[in-house]
């Protein structure tokens, strides 16, 4: 058992260093979509000791999610926001969580996502990915965006990468493997892409940008 928050924080500082951990603890990161990408991103960020996560998804946990998303059989039928919050608190009892069980649209996104340092786009549909990307880059000039495109199938792990598009916009994935090409999403390759996204978030927070 952890006896108090100081013990938890000391353990993080020992791994990440004091300056880095200070930035992680002070950060607010939004995860938009809590499927294969978002659930894995959130777990990596909670483990890293990010201060606050904003979790957004309208969907409920379904049996067909369990092959790649970080939920359990016992959570089938729960809102993904609620189920993920439960799992994250088991990992990091001190993380601040804000959950929104809604579908993000052009109309509601800005109030939901305001005051975030970094936003992770972790949707399933290409149109939704483009919508959020355009909205954040057009309307939130202080916020960084880490988006994902292309992680379906059994292709090589080594083609999943992080690319800097603009100072505030990073894209993870192989950029071509479409889920609609008849190939499904596979846990390991989706996790790779989620790991790229979570890792880029941590690098942004410590100003270690890709070139």
């Amino acid at each position: 058992m952890i006896s108090n928050q100081k013990e938890w924080m000391d353990a993080l500082i020992e791994r990440h260093g004091k300056e880095r951990q200070k930035r992680f603890s002070a950060a607010t990161v939004a995860v938009c979509g809590l499927g294969g990408l978002g659930s894995n991103i959130a777990i990596a960020l909670a483990r890293a000791g990010i201060g606050k996560l904003i979790l957004v998804d309208f969907d409920k946990v379904d049996l067909t999610n369990l092959h790649r998303q970080q939920y359990k059989v016992s959570q089938i039928g729960m809102d993904k926001t609620e189920a993920l919050a439960e799992n994250l608190r088991e990992i990091n009892p001190y993380i601040e969580l804000e959950t929104h069980t809604v579908r993000i649209t052009v109309e509601n996104a800005l109030p939901l996502l305001k005051n975030t340092d970094v936003i992770c786009e972790a949707f399933d549909h290409a149109e939704a990915k483009a919508m959020l990307t355009n909205l954040v880059l057009e309307a939130m000039p202080e916020t960084y965006l880490v988006a994902a495109s292309g992680m379906a199938g059994f292709g090589s792990a080594n083609t999943v990468k992080t690319r800097r598009i603009m100072k505030r916009f990073y894209l993870c994935g192989d950029e071509v493997s479409d889920v609609n090409g008849g190939i499904g999403l596979v846990s390991s390759r989706v996790m790779l892409c989620a790991a790229h996204q979570a890792h880029m978030v941590l690098r942004i927070l410590t100003e270690e940008f890709e070139t």
Partner: protein, 64 residues
């Protein structure tokens, strides 16, 4: 010439919307950076590509 996704293209004089259509991009699936800045969706129809412009067109595919 207009540099688009790293390649020189004969696209000067076309609108961004026109170029996207001619190159088979779905405008609902893209985000376009031009000379370091995002191009607002509302400007796709009017924005005329200029000689020397540099564009990055990100075309999203599904899965997450």
């Amino acid at each position: 010439m207009v540099k688009i996704n790293g390649e020189d293209k004969n696209a000067a004089g076309k609108t961004l919307a026109g170029y996207l259509a001619s190159a088979n991009f779905d405008p609902n699936r893209v985000a376009v950076e031009r000379n370091g800045n995002i191009v607002p969706k509302s400007q796709y129809a009017e924005l005329v590509l200029q000689d020397g412009d540099s564009l990055e067109i990100v075309s999203f595919v599904g899965g997450g």
